[in-house]
Amino acid sequence: GDSVTQTEGLVTVTEGLPVKLNCTYQTTYLTIAFFWYVQYLNEAPQVLLKSSTDNKRTEHQGFHATLHKSSSSFHLQKSSAQLSDSALYYCALSEGNMGYKLTFGTGTSLLVDP
């Protein structure tokens, strides 16, 4: 079956420095979409970014990600981390065969220090 891997459980970065959260996947399907969800403390997960186009950069709220099917990756990056970015981040895969089923990674906690 499909799987999504987020290798870091916790990423700590100093405010103003760049940050990168890793996400890789395994699937046998060609029609796929990827989502980055962010979950703030005691809140529901919400979509931060999404993409289904290979090698096209997508951006939102200062974050960006590019789906690379050649390396099965959809890493999340930001050039300058803010204190308000501290949250739990999930990468999730959706594939066309199953319609609407999302497969989530285990999540990465981002902590931005002043």
Partner: protein
């Protein structure tokens, strides 16, 4: 526009007790999902509906879990005879049928603790 609402927000019960979770999706969203999120893990799909029909319940422990969406709007997830291993946050999400690229909007979840 109101988001996805869930109740209760918290539940604590003893093993063997039953519990029900209720979800009200975003108005107009025809697809509804229930996820289980154990502590320190990502959400895992239990079941999802298109209108009132179950589309996929392959991950639902059918001997103790059941889910319904009788009128294609609100939904109830029930656990009969809860076990400690059921301790998790139960998330409801909804989307408008738009293919695999449709965003799922999540509710705040119900945090269940089984003692």
């Amino acid at each position: 526009e109101a988001g996805v609402t869930q109740s209760p927000r918290y539940a604590v019960l003893q093993e063997g007790q039953a519990v029900s979770f209720w979800c009200d999706p975003i108005s107009g969203h025809d697809t509804l999902y229930w996820y289980q999120q154990p502590r320190d893990q990502g959400p895992q799909l239990l079941v999802y509906f298109r209108d009132e029909a179950v589309i996929d319940n392959s991950q639902l422990p059918s001997d103790r879990f059941s889910a319904v969406r009788p009128k294609g709007t609100n939904s109830t997830l029930k656990i009969q005879s809860a076990k400690q291993g059921d301790t998790a946050t139960y998330l409801c999400a909804s989307s408008f049928a738009g293919g695999y690229y449709a965003e799922q909007f999540f509710g705040p979840g119900t945090r269940l603790t089984v003692l």
